[in-house]
């Protein structure tokens, strides 16, 4: 049972590393690849949980993660970038160095928070939660430090990965949750797609800045 915990911990840790890599990376295709890797790691983690917790239905989530986030979406985004001719390098608002420092700060914050949780709680509840929280915060960090719509979407999805990690980590949390997550991710993708194409109709790039030129309440 103990190594079971180690493995899930290891996978979660690797996902966190992937998040840092996402923050570090500044070429858009590399970002997509790293995201795919993180998704696959997530799939493995979920699968492992399914096996150790004897909750086979978690395999569905694992599969979902693997296919959808590990393969379909990266490929789709890749194609889209090629077709829309979005410039390949990601403009970063904050320099990589600063971003990574912020990432470290956020990670330590999440550890600090989780360590306050009574030791009586299950062991996963602490470390796993810490890692998941860190991944979530890093995802948000990525969303706000990148100008490019695609990378913002990626940031959002890595945030989602953190969520799923936490959800699956929580023992015996009803299936409702995974379904809803998958559901929401599907919807999300669907709506994303709709918007990306709409945006394509209207603007020349997917650059979010381009959207801002329609101001809310001009004088």
């Amino acid at each position: 049972m103990n190594h079971a915990y180690d493995v899930s911990h290891l996978l979660a840790g690797l996902m966190l590393v992937a998040s840092f890599a996402l923050l570090y990376q500044d070429r858009i295709f590399a970002v997509l690849n790293i995201f795919a890797a993180q998704a696959i790691l997530l799939a493995m983690a979920v699968g492992w949980e399914a096996w150790t917790q004897q909750r086979p239905h978690l395999f569905i989530t694992a599969a979902l993660a693997l296919c959808l986030k590990g393969i379909v979406i990266p490929v789709a985004l890749h194609k889209m970038i090629v077709r829309l001719g979005v410039h390949r390098d990601v403009e970063q608002v904050v320099g990589v160095g600063k971003t990574l420092l912020l990432g470290l700060a956020l990670t330590s914050l999440s550890l600090m928070l989780v360590l306050k949780i009574t030791a009586a709680a299950e062991s996963f509840t602490r470390e796993g939660l810490a890692l998941a929280l860190a991944i979530i915060l890093l995802g948000m960090l990525m969303m706000i430090t990148r100008r490019n719509a695609v990378t913002q979407i990626v940031g959002f999805m890595s945030l989602e990965n953190g969520l799923i990690l936490a959800a699956t980590g929580a023992r015996g949390m009803p299936l409702v949750v995974e379904v809803s997550v998958a559901f929401s991710v599907l919807i999300a993708l669907f709506v994303f797609a709709v918007f990306v194409f709409r945006i394509r109709e209207r603007f020349d790039s997917v650059d979010v800045e381009a959207l801002e030129n329609v101001r809310g309440d001009t004088k």
Partner: protein, 478 residues
């Protein structure tokens, strides 16, 4: 109980799927009205079933009023849409296909909101809110103008971030309940959690509440999480603005309150009061100032919604029987009044072909009835008698002053600043030399009258049954 709950949730969803298949937008509009009426009836039928909780659904004093309110406003809004959206087709802003989807999505949204309101399982609550959000995202973007798409995009991104944070909070609540209630669905059942609140893990509850506050707070539109709200209101179809302001914000706040109950029931956990007071005041005062610079009439009232959500949050933060009572009353009054205002605004926009305040003058000359309606709405929302909001603001301010005199100055300040702006704009709209064009108003004004009538009556006489709900709910909220 189950049957009527099933009806309240089922009717909209079923008829939504049906409407997708119905050809012809007139038929779908009629279907929408019909379905919403049926939902309203089944919502009212909840009065006659005894309250209770299953593992997935719950009907208690806390939510019964909101369900009825929800279905009622949903019904009036559907009536309004039927006539309003028709006009949009004539002016070519929408195609019949989009209108059919519009009505279907309207029903889906109502259904999911009812789901959220009746859910006893916090996961289900979350699901309901999310579906509602995602559908409204699409509806906000339905005009496909650049600004509409920007608004929808903004709403979508901020909304989904909110979704995720709220979900993480839900997980944390589950983890907190896991030890006391064991693994499985029971640890996600609100009523059980509420009952077992003192045994839960305090630090997990704190963490959870923070995430839920930010997550659902985004939906409530509390500053600084509000950014999506004004644009979504301004760019979407007016009936949707009415439903957003009148219902979705309430439902999100309702969810937040459910969790506040759990947290505040725990002795060691953080006291949600101060946090809510601070966020409430920030939203109230910030929105009040923003009102002065508004040029678009719908954005104006969107900000006023932020302002009032702030006031309500403040009231619940104050706590205590009087303040909670006032908060609940204010939620009800605000959703009725604000949706009424948006109905009126829809009329104005169609009568003047513009949403820009600068383009609308002298309504009291060209459209006296509409002018009176708009004025009544604005005065009602500003807390002037003889309307219901006056009573809630009266209670909030007096009781706050009685308990913390210096704290009471801030909400009063915010409200006065806001009133200054609203009155200013109202006078611009109503008085002066009328501007062209001045079409006849086509959309139905019945919903407007119904809402204002209810608010007026509430301002003078609250029926005891209503008072009973409020008091018991206020009791639950502590």
């Amino acid at each position: 109980m189950m049957t009527s709950v099933a009806l309240v949730i089922g009717i909209p969803f079923v008829s939504a799927t049906a409407l997708v298949l119905v050809p012809g937008y007139r038929a779908s509009a009629a279907g929408n009205v019909l379905a919403m009426f049926a939902t309203f009836i089944s919502g009212v039928s909840l009065l006659f079933v005894d309250a209770g909780a299953s593992s997935y659904f719950i009907v208690d004093d806390m939510n019964i009023l909101f369900i009825i309110l929800n279905t009622l406003v949903g019904f009036t809004a559907s009536v309004f849409s039927a006539s309003y959206i028709g006009h949009e087709i004539e002016t070519g802003k929408l195609t019949p296909l989009f209108v059919r989807f519009y009505h279907a999505m309207f029903l889906g949204m109502m259904g999911s909101m009812n789901l959220a309101l009746t859910a006893n399982n916090i996961g289900l609550l979350w699901v309901g809110l999310e579906i509602a959000t995602l559908i409204t995202v699409v509806m906000v973007g339905i005009y496909r103008t650049p600004s509409a798409i920007e608004a929808a995009w903004k709403y979508f991104i901020l909304g989904s971030v909110g979704i995720s944070l709220a979900f993480f909070g839900t997980i944390l609540i589950y983890l907190a309940g896991q030890k006391a209630l064991g693994e499985g669905a029971s640890a996600m059942t609100w009523s059980l959690l509420q009952a077992a609140a003192p045994q839960l893990d305090a630090s997990l509850l704190n963490l959870a509440f923070i995430f839920l506050l930010i997550g659902y707070g985004t939906k409530v539109g509390l500053a600084p999480l509000h950014a999506w709200l004004p644009d979504a209101h301004a760019e979407g179809p007016t009936p949707i603005s009415a439903v957003l302001s009148g219902l979705l914000l309430n439902v999100a706040l309702y969810a937040l309150l459910r969790f506040k109950m759990i947290v505040s029931a725990h002795p060691e956990a953080i006291d949600p009061g101060p946090v809510m007071i601070v966020m409430g005041l920030i939203s109230l005062i910030f929105a009040a100032f923003m009102l002065y610079q508004r040029r678009d009439i719908k954005r104006l009232f969107a900000y006023s919604s932020i302002e009032h959500m702030g006031l309500i949050t403040f009231a619940f933060g104050m706590g205590g029987p009087l303040a909670n009572f006032a908060g609940l009353l204010h939620m009800a009054m605000h959703s009725l009044t604000k949706s009424a205002i948006f109905f009126a605004v829809g009329h104005v926009a169609q009568a003047k072909d513009t949403q820009r305040i600068a383009g609308i003058r002298g309504l009291s000359v060209t459209h006296p009835g509409l002018a009176i309606g708009l004025a009544a709405g604005v005065f009602a929302i500003s807390g002037l008698p003889p309307f219901g909001v006056f009573m809630s603001e009266f209670l909030i301010l007096t009781t706050t002053f009685a308990r913390a005199p210096w704290l009471a100055v801030l909400p009063a300040f915010g409200l006065l600043v806001a009133f200054g702006a609203l009155l200013w704009r109202l006078q611009d709209l109503l008085f002066g030399e009328p501007t062209e064009p001045a079409h006849k108003v086509r959309a139905s004004s019945v919903p407007l009258m119904i809402h204002l009538g209810l608010v007026l009556i509430a301002g003078i006489y609250l029926p005891p049954i209503l008072v009973g709900w409020f008091e018991r709910a206020a009791e639950m909220l502590k």
